[in-house]
Symmetry: C2
Subunit: 232 residues, 2 copies
DNA sequence: ATGCGCTTGTGAACGTGAGCACAAAGTCGT
DNA sequence: ACGACTTTGTGCTCACGTTCACAAGCGCAT
């Protein structure tokens, strides 16, 4: 896996943090802040300031020494780097509870994404209105993608059909996929997939939770041992 | 950030992949596979086989050279390592579209998690039944957490109240939090937070999408240049 | 029994990312 | 005009993660 994005060469880890910075910056802008120091912004974003400065330095030298960063200017620069100065049309496939929630989520529109098409296999759902959009039947998928020039697809279907939907999206020209179905999707190299999986996140939490319990129990044992041996 | 989980010392990156392996293994088990080689399992999980073997080797030597891994046995070992042999009670706070979707998601129960309590601030929702559970008012939060011995909390509220909810969960004794709200939560060191943020994932996709466009355009330019110069 | 073929487990090399600590570069008061 | 102070940008070091490549180990056929 090449971790450096080719081109200007922004590390992948940095790219993943830019949206967090962007959100913190937007909040600051709303609160009327004119400039912000790396220390403040880092705290707001939950990282340390050295990392933040290094991350921002990959975009260019947009700060002023002794002062900090101009909030509005930095918002613009980060947005531009992330490609959010243009609007990306998005299709959502699968409108169960989750797809429904995604369609109604306001956070997309405000950040350069426009949900342009909804598709579901269930005849009950087809032609219904969700978030101001009509639900299209599965057959219409390829046509919608081509006609609306959609490059980003969101899969919110049950796991068993996710790969099929994925294949159809890719062959229709979608080159980025956000997958909510709990399966590993196979795609050609030039297609980028990111997955969001709540059950995986919970399992990671469970691992650490268990570890806490285990070490706590171990602590108890050593304390008991110490008591058994008696005060030295 | 210490990347090695203390104790037996399984790398954090490995822990994050174990749930993926577990899912692939479960599928294989359902299909009646008795054993599986690292190569097969790696393909199913979307990683390379060397990484898979190293990951599994942190759990112990559970494979047989020349043969592969016993599927059922490995399922058990991975589950045990992740702490999924016991059931973890979970509370969901916030039952908008997303919380609703989470409450109804079947994937949790089958993997060691039991949604035990639903809480929402909206009087309209309180006392309604969702996924077979009654929705409790916000005031009941601390009592529910203590009484049911809940260690894992899921925050699916609007962003502005997420930090407050988080603080209340933590002070009631929750030590792991899965956060769907688009904010960076501040918590004490001993509390583990993981966040799921679809808008961040989309922005990362947009970055790569833009890069593809840029390099494609660059390709066009070089081709045009080459033509302008003429065949050599 | 013995050897052959297959697959695991791991040492070692390499690449990526994090964080310290400081020089460079700006602002502001005098 | 200048010096004190503040904050950025970055060279360097260390830790973490990935991958290669191969020896060790196991089963099966002969």
């Amino acid at each position: 896996m090449p971790a450096r994005a080719q081109g200007r060469g922004i590390p992948e880890a940095t790219v993943a943090r830019l949206p967090v910075y962007l959100r913190a910056l937007s909040t600051l802008a709303e609160d009327g802040a004119g400039t912000v120091s790396s220390e403040e912004l880092a705290t707001a974003a939950g990282v340390n300031s050295a990392k933040l400065r290094k991350d921002l330095s990959y975009l260019g030298s947009y700060g002023t020494r002794g002062v900090g960063y101009d909030v509005d200017y930095l918002v613009y620069q980060v947005s531009r780097e992330l490609g959010l100065t243009q609007d990306w049309p998005v299709v959502i496939v699968g409108l169960g509870h989750l797809g429904h929630a995604l369609a109604n989520y306001g956070g997309f529109a405000s950040r350069g994404f426009a949900i342009r098409a909804l598709v579901d296999a269930d005849p009950e759902l087809v032609d219904q209105q969700i978030a101001g959009l009509r639900v299209h039947p599965l057959e219409a998928l390829e046509d919608l993608v081509r006609r609306l020039g959609i490059a980003i697809g969101v899969i919110a279907t049950p796991a068993p059909v996710a790969q099929t939907i994925c294949d159809r999206l890719v062959s229709a020209g979608v080159s980025s996929i956000l997958n909510f179905a709990p399966v590993v999707l196979a795609v050609p190299d030039e297609v980028e997939v990111r997955k969001v999986d709540m059950s995986i996140e919970l399992q990671i939490l469970a691992f650490h939770e268990q570890r806490k319990l285990a070490t706590a129990a171990l602590g108890d044992v050593s304390r008991e041992l110490a008591e058994a041996v008696g005060p030295r």
